[in-house]
């Protein structure tokens, strides 16, 4: 833990709300650039020794994620139905945030992802828009993120990727059996599989040890520091500047605005439940695509009666969720997918929208098996087999090491009625209004998944699987997501977007929203690389603007 450096009534240069994938980048960049920074993180600050191999605690007791028992959310598909308490949003709740527990797929968006509206045209029932920036604007920051954090991959191996200014800093991770089978089948089908770019270091890098293939990767924290989270790679650098104070267990409830309409600081509950007002010259909110709009909506004031930075009513709207489906195959020989990282091969042949298909969207496919023992026994077996009893027990025993799968990461359209708002009645354990999630997939999202499922099954069958099935819990309308995107969209027009192309709120000059909330489109999921590239770009701009006195 970093020692207390700043007193609450002393205005620091920046408060960063949230120490996750984006906040970790911003905190490190701004403190390294010479600014005083206080990071307010609602979750704890874990050490590597806390990253235990305990599926029950991590997957079923929210050890590293928001605990729905303390922070319930309500859910409804449309505003016409009553919202009920039902977990809909999950995120890493700790210093490092989602970058600590994610699968670590590190895909860049493609150049055309930033220009889909121009290329594909309008989609009825959705608000598909071009980004105010291009791939070329972001490319240097993708590269910066890859080198700063430590990404393993093979540059140029994905023929659908945009141009790169530098290779990956580390070679790809060793291929797993799922990757071998996927690659063989994909090549037989004339597709273009490539080694997965992963935020896990395949070799020692900048003082961190290489991955030991322990297998507790997705949803877990890395006890080796081999996963390139902001906790492992950036937070130590931020602390080392001597200008960054990280305050864990600090849950922000309001961003305060002065009479001049400028942000003055943040009010938060500390670990003992005391309310503290930290003053700052500017605030960067990196609380994630669901908590950032919630915090803005909770930050009502005379100047902003509908919530901070929400003069146009767009805060919280256009929520995009994780979309996709899992297909599984049973193979003759053991794959032992419980070892090592989750994904070693990917393909993007079905990524681009094709008007001939009759719907918008597509997806990337990866070879994986991301079930831990209990999770597999609970829900991983084919639905046409028994789900308990002696026969089931024997089948689970036989299947676990012999199953590999293909996961589709599919498009999720930006739709105005899908949003984050405040629940009218339900409160969290701190007495704050619970998050209310309203989400229903655009029909094209579901068509894209149906299209991809056929491709996934084709790959598994071509790979020689003895039995192929679809995990039915992953199909149909999405009601639960770990990817939280699009709720404070970036754009040039202050009437239709919340932040400008530098992640600065249109309404408030000294407020920046830097996380998944600013994404205009979600491409084909796996947003972390783009969220972090945007964070590097925003931090670069914020630092320069601050030095020019323009904040």
């Amino acid at each position: 833990m970093s020692d207390a450096k700043y007193r609450p009534n002393e205005a620091v240069d920046f408060i960063v709300v949230g120490a996750g994938a984006a906040g970790g980048v911003v905190a490190k960049e701004l403190s390294a650039a010479g600014f005083s920074v206080v990071v307010l993180e609602q979750g704890p600050w874990h050490q590597t020794k806390d990253f235990m191999h305990d599926e029950v605690a991590v997957m079923y007791r929210s050890a590293f994620t928001n605990d729905f028992k303390k922070q319930p959310n309500t859910f409804r598909k449309t505003a016409a139905e009553p919202a009920k308490i039902q977990p809909a949003v999950e995120y890493g709740r700790m210093v490092g945030g989602g970058s600590v527990h994610y699968t670590s797929n590190y895909w860049r968006f493609h150049p055309e992802d930033f220009r889909e509206r121009s290329a594909f045209g309008a989609v009825p029932g959705a608000d598909l828009r071009d980004w105010p920036i291009t791939y070329d604007d972001l490319e240097p920051y993708y590269t910066k993120a890859e080198w700063d954090l430590g990404i393993s991959g093979l540059g140029g191996s994905n023929p659908f990727d945009g141009p790169r200014s530098k290779p990956y800093p580390l070679p790809p991770m060793p291929v797993k059996s799922s990757g071998v089978l996927f690659e063989r089948a994909a090549k037989k089908l004339g597709l273009h599989p490539f080694p997965a770019p992963m935020a896990v270091i395949s070799q020692p890098y900048r003082g961190r040890a290489a991955c030991s293939h322990c297998g507790f990767c997705e949803a877990f924290g890395c006890e080796m520091n081999a996963k390139s989270s902001t906790l492992a790679a950036l937070v130590p650098l931020a602390v080392k500047t001597g200008r960054c104070e990280i305050r864990p267990n600090s849950y922000v409830r309001k961003i305060e605005v002065g009479k001049n309409g400028r942000v003055q600081g943040a009010i938060y509950f500390d670990g003992q439940g005391r309310e503290i007002f930290q003053r700052a010259k500017a605030v960067v909110v990196s609380a994630n695509g669901a908590e950032t709009p919630r915090l803005l909506l909770m930050s009502k004031s005379k100047q902003f009666p509908h919530g901070l930075a929400n003069s146009n009513g767009n805060v919280g709207k256009y929520l995009m969720f994780d979309n996709g489906a899992m297909a599984m195959g049973y193979f003759e020989h053991p794959l032992n997918e419980y070892k090592s990282i989750v994904v070693t091969r990917v393909l993007h042949d079905y990524y681009r929208s094709d008007p001939k298909r009759g719907f918008y969207g597509g997806g990337g496919l990866d070879a994986r098996f991301d079930y831990y023992p209990a999770g597999f026994a609970l829900a991983g077996m084919p639905a046409d087999m028994p789900q308990w009893g002696g026969e089931w027990k024997r089948a689970v025993g036989q299947y676990y090491t012999h199953v590999g799968g293909v996961l589709a990461h599919a498009s999720s359209l930006s739709v105005e009625r899908n949003n984050i708002s405040l629940d009218d009645t339900v409160k969290d354990a701190w007495g704050l209004p619970a998050m209310r999630v309203t989400f229903k997939n655009h029909p094209d999202d579901l068509k894209a998944v149906d299209f991809l499922i056929e491709k996934q099954k084709e790959i598994l069958e071509t790979a020689g699987a003895k039995k192929v099935w679809v995990d039915l819990s992953t199909t149909g309308d999405v009601t639960y997501s770990r990817h939280l995107m699009g709720t404070c969209r970036m754009g040039d027009d202050p009437r239709t977007s919340v932040v400008d192309q530098w992640n600065r709120a249109h309404d408030v000059r000294n407020l920046f929203l830097v996380d998944g909330s600013s994404l205009v489109t979600c491409a084909r999921q796996q947003p972390t690389a783009t969220i972090q590239a945007l964070a590097y770009r925003a931090a670069d701009y914020i630092g320069q603007a601050a030095r020019r006195g323009e904040i």
Binding site: D54, E55, P174, H213, P334, Y338, A374, K393, Y400
Partner: protein
């Protein structure tokens, strides 16, 4: 494979040892009364039966369930209390004169559970039984790593490639 005995392995070994010791002594349940425990134990034993390998009973799953209901999942107690009462009513209906679920024959137990398998109660007992059997042994329900052994997981804190048959084959490392 390189064998490295890490601190984590020691912790796991210590947890297993502590659990074995606990099972030998006349341990008390934290939440269950003995009669309820016997009924839930009988249900869990049909979900994951003891056959040629240990099932829920021999792996000590009831201890996991007890710990869950006494702690993190205390909000599920109502499902157990109400659900078990409903299951008993169903039992009396199906098998008049029977006294308990534990006292039914195996075939009768299966018949009863099939009749209630869509209920929230059965689904919760199934969930807890599976979490206990395949979860970390420190919770008491995966004694001697019975669950992991069943599915062929040789637990280690680290592994080296090749991991499976096909990646070994691709790297020319399978002896045929």
């Amino acid at each position: 494979m390189q064998l490295i005995f890490t601190r984590r392995d020691w912790m796991l070994a210590a947890a297993c040892w502590a659990e074995a010791l606990r099972a030998q002594t006349t341990a008390k349940f934290a939440w269950f009364d003995p009669a309820t425990a016997a009924e839930i134990k009988a249900i869990a034993a049909q979900i994951i039966p003891d056959d040629d390998t240990p099932g829920a009973d021999r792996a000590g799953v009831i201890w996991f369930i007890d710990g869950a209901l006494a702690g993190y999942d205390r909000d599920k107690r109502e499902i157990y209390t109400r659900g078990l009462a409903e299951a008993q009513a169903k039992r009396t209906q199906l098998f008049p004169g029977s006294m308990s679920i534990a006292g039914l024959s195996g075939a009768q137990q299966i018949q009863l559970l099939k009749a209630i398998e869509q209920t929230e109660f059965f689904q919760e007992v199934r969930r807890h039984t599976i979490l206990g059997f395949f979860g970390h042994p420190k919770y008491g329900g995966n004694r001697d790593q019975a669950g992991w052994k069943l599915i062929g997981v040789q637990y280690s804190a680290r592994y080296e490639p090749p991991f499976g048959y096909y990646d070994a084959e691709a790297n020319g490392r399978n002896s045929k």
